[in-house]
Each structure stands twice: as structure tokens, then as C-alpha cells.
């Protein structure tokens, strides 16, 4: 299995770096979108798979990141990417800390509901605070980042590599996190929080930390999506988006990091493929989701792991 990993990873890297050079723009953009959703889904997995906290409010962080970019970059005050990025991430960190401090007081169903609730608060604010967010009109005209060097990120290929950089950095960091003693403690909390507390672990602090870290990466994804679309709207804070994140996680297989990334790829590809033939994408994704929850709860990763065991 480990030998398989050491072949698979360089191979995937090679594919991600070389293949896009030959892809038509539509497929290239799809791949970029997959990378962005990959970051989003994987970040949620830290919360869902490793800590056992099912959140229906992850879009809150994606949306905060996206809106900060939208609001700040279209005012013309800041044009350089680095300060924009840092400010957006700071906003996400603040939101994640506040929400996390409150949400980690509960678990299970209540956690699901409170994250849903917090997500909706932001959604309503984005919808109503027209002065800042332009409500349901959204904020258009977000130009690709200005890195201060002569690289035009308006070119889709360039922008793909830009996102790939973020994807690789995020993925690498998240993998390192999952290999850390911190994450082992999170898994312990998932399996039995009371036991971890008896062992003297500050479980609430750990859960909060996980919540914030997970939110930060989701914020990165949101920031990239704002640049990808050139546009941000309340949809970036919607329950549908949060739900999609959860669906990607479950279809891909929680608790593995790569599972949700695969899930993100599957859902994104399916969505665009299916949308070419029918508008009934929600019906299909809902149906698949139900089937997976009922019959293949471990998702793709779970199914593959079963096969590899033999």
C-alpha cells in the first residue's frame, strides 16, 4: 500500500503539472474548479472525518473569503494580491474563531444545527447588507490577482498553475496535520471525547483549533473561487454549497483527505457533464448521496480500501 502511494503521488503530480498544457480551455477550467473544491472538501474532512464533527456551515468560510476579496478588490483601494489575501484570511480566521468558540460547545445533531444556523446568519447578512455586499446582485468585476510581477493571471493556464500551487500547498499542509499528534488527538476525540478528557486533553481547545484550521483552508478555496468566477454572490454562502461540501466528503469517503478530494472531482465532473444534458442535477446528486449513505457509507475511499485489503 505504501509502495503504491509512493508511485501514485509523483504520478498524480506529473499529471497535474503536464496534462493541463494540452487541455482545451473548458477542461482546463474544470480542472481548476476541481482543485478549488478539492481544497474545500479536504478542509471539511478535518472536521468531519478526523474529529467527527459534521458541519452544515462550511460555506461560511468559503463565502467570507470570497466576499472579502470581492468587497476589497472592487473598491480599487488595494490592488496587490498579498494584502488582499491576508485581509481575507484574517476575516475568515475571525469568523471561524467566533463561530468555533460557540459551536464546539455542542456535538452531534446540535453541532450540525448550530453550524447551519451560523452559516445562514452570514447568508442573510450578505443578502441584506446591500451597501457592502450588493445583496443578491452579487459583486462582479473581480479581476485576477495582481502579483506584482509580469504574470497575467487572466490567462486560464496561468491561473490554473496559480491554483495548483495553492492546492499543493494546502494539501501538503493538511496531510502533515493529519500525521501530527494533534490530529491523533482529534481522532481520539471523535472516538470518545470523554475518554480524551479523562486523559487530560483539552478537548474543546483542540476542537476549536481544528475548526479554525479547517475554516482557514475553506477560506482559501473561497478566495480562489472569487478570482475564478470574477464574481461573488450569496450563493457562496449558501446551504447548498455547505451541503455540497458534505456530499463530496461522504461520496469520497471521510477521514482520508484524499477521499473528499476525489469526491470533489467526481461531483464537479458529474455536475458539469450532467448539466449538459439535463437540468435535473439536484435530483441526481440527491439520489447518489442517498444511495451512498445507505449502501456505501465509506464512500469511494472506503470501497477502494476494502479492495486493497485483499
Amino acid at each position: 500500500m505504501n509502495r503504491g502511494k509512493s508511485i501514485a503521488i509523483p504520478l498524480i503530480l506529473l499529471v497535474l503539472i503536464i496534462v493541463p498544457l494540452f487541455l482545451p480551455t473548458y477542461s482546463l477550467n474544470l480542472l481548476t474548479l476541481i482543485l478549488i473544491f478539492g481544497i474545500f472538501a479536504a478542509s471539511l474532512d478535518l472536521l468531519v472525518g478526523y474529529t467527527g464533527l459534521y458541519s452544515l456551515g462550511h460555506a461560511a468560510f468559503w463565502g467570507t473569503g470570497a466576499y472579502l476579496i470581492g468587497i476589497l478588490s472592487t473598491r480599487g483601494l488595494i490592488t496587490n494580491f498579498l494584502p488582499l489575501f491576508l485581509l481575507a484570511i484574517l476575516a475568515v480566521a475571525i469568523v471561524a474563531t467566533i463561530f468555533g468558540a460557540l459551536a464546539t460547545k455542542v456535538t452531534g445533531i446540535y453541532f450540525l444545527m448550530i453550524t447551519f444556523c451560523f452559516n445562514q446568519v452570514l447568508f442573510v447578512i450578505a443578502w441584506k447588507w446591500r451597501a457592502v455586499t450588493r445583496g443578491d446582485d452579487g459583486i462582479p468585476g473581480i479581476v485576477r490577482p495582481d502579483l506584482g510581477i509580469s504574470l497575467n493571471l487572466g490567462d486560464e493556464l496561468n491561473f490554473y498553475y496559480f491554483c495548483l500551487l495553492f492546492f499543493l500547498a494546502s494539501a501538503w499542509t493538511m496531510v502533515r496535520i493529519t500525521e501530527s499528534p494533534f490530529c491523533k488527538a482529534l481522532v481520539g476525540i471523535r472516538d470518545s471525547e470523554s475518554r480524551m478528557q479523562t486523559l487530560g486533553f483539552p478537548t474543546r481547545m483542540f476542537k476549536l483549533l481544528c475548526f479554525v484550521v479547517s475554516g482557514l483552508f475553506a477560506g482559501v478555496a473561497g478566495i480562489l473561487s472569487a478570482y475564478y468566477n470574477g464574481f461573488v454572490s450569496p450563493l457562496d454562502l449558501s446551504l447548498v454549497l455547505s451541503g455540497e461540501g458534505l456530499i463530496m466528503n461522504i461520496i469520497g469517503g471521510v477521514g482520508t483527505l484524499w477521499g473528499p478530494i476525489v469526491g470533489a472531482a467526481v461531483i464537479t465532473l458529474l455536475k458539469h457533464l450532467v448539466s449538459g444534458y439535463t437540468v435535473h442535477w439536484p435530483l441526481i446528486v440527491g439520489g447518489i448521496f442517498i444511495l451512498v449513505v445507505m449502501f456505501a457509507r465509506g464512500g469511494i475511499a472506503g470501497a477502494l480500501k476494502e479492495r486493497w485489503k485483499r
Binding site: 445533531i109 444545527m113 444556523c117 440527491g286 439520489g287 448521496f289
Partner: protein, 282 residues
Amino acid sequence: MLIQILNGLSFGFLLFLLGSGLSLMFGLMGIVNLSHGSYFMLGAYFGLSVSKWTGSFWLGAALGGVITGVVGGLTERFLLRYVHLRHLDQVLLTFGFVYIFMDLSKWFWGGDPLSLSKPALLNGSIDIFGDSFPVYRLAIIIIGFLIAVLLWLFQEKTLIGAIVRAGVDDRQMVTGLGININLISTGVFALGAFMAGFGGVVGGPILGAYQGMDLEVLILALVVVVVGGLGSLKGALLGSLLIGMLDNFGKALFPDFAMVTIFLAMAVILLLKPSGLLGKPS
């Protein structure tokens, strides 16, 4: 002022139709039915169609409720119970249905908002202490109150109601006593779905039927049930009337951020007393 209170009450009773089902479902089966808002929406759409075909609003309301109830009952019987899932997985299952119902309703009724017309009998407004108030809203208060009373009688005075109460307290014990709690569960689910659907039709003349209604209403239902207490009928009544008032006065005082007030109420309750005002601490 009185008008505002009555407005809040009428919305509150509408929320009660929604929240009571959700609360009972959670109390008895431990499932938070995330498709409950979808049931409300489906009821509104079905009621709209039936009342258009038959010309009778009340038939629309009854059938809208019944169809939704059947959908709910079938879902519980064949899906939620068929696979022995953890509670969380069952909740995820209901979430999957949100997508399905969202799509199906758009498929059959289109994406444009539709409106239901009030039954002719309840059109117009009456004079209350000098202010005029819509008769229909008064009717909602009366209907809601009657249903609340009926539900209370059912829960407190009938055998099945006693079984439901016992099931909420200790499901395994009830099974141990040889009572088919599974059948009762399906029934409760169907009843909850019926009330949501019925509520959707009754609320139709005021709220209409539109895409996105399912999630908007779900949020309110969740807030009601969390505030009032999961599993408690009295709690659902208290919660729904409270939220109805809060929403109404919130809209009057802070029109843009009324929703935020409601969510804050929910967050406060979740953090101070997660089991709700009248719920049992778990």
C-alpha cells in the same frame, strides 16, 4: 400593537404546524428531518394544484397534507428504517431528499413563485378595536389553536399518544413491552409530514409557493424546535409562538436584520440550554 401581536400569533401557529411534527420526529426517532421544510413546500404546491383542479381550497389543504403525509410515511418506512443507520446518517439521508424534492418541485411547478388564493369565505378583514385585521390570519390562529388542542388530547388522552410519550422517554423499553413502536414511528412521521404539508397549504395564501421556500422554512422550523425543546409538543408551541412574535416584531423594528435576531435566539438557547426551553436534558 394588538394587530402586531395577532400577526405574530398567526405566523406562530403556522410555525407550530411545522415545528410540532419536527419535534415529535426527533423525540421519538432521534431524527432531525432536514426535509421537513420540503414537506411544507410540497404541501403548498400540491394544495395549489388540487385547489385549482377542484376549486376547493379546503380540499386542497386536506389533500396537500395527506399526500405529503404519505410521502413522509413511505420515506420513513422504506428508507429511514430499512437501513440500520446511526442517527446522523439518517439525518444525512433526509438532507439528500431536500435536493430531490427541490428538483421535483421545480420540474412540476416551475421556478416562478406561485400564489394560492384564499378561500372565498375567509376573504376580507374584520374590525378589531378600530384596526382592521385580515380574517384569514385570524382563521390561521383558530385552526392552529384547534390543532394544538387536538394534538395535546391525542398525546395526553389516547393510548397511542401514551405510547408515543413512552417512546420519546425510552424507546427500547416500549419495544421490550411488546409494543410495535416501529409502526407508531412511521405513523408519527407521517403525521408530522401531514401537518407540515397542511401548514404549507394553509400558509399558502400568505407565503405563496416558491423555490427556496423549503430551506427558508426549514431554518425557521429548526429554530422553533431548538428553542422550544426537541421532543416536546408544549415546547414546540412555546417555541413557535415565541419565534412568530420575534420574527414579526423583529421585522417591524429591524426590517433588514430580523432573521439575525431569530438566529441569535437559537444560538443563545443552543449554548445555554441545548435541550430547549421545555425539552428534556439528554
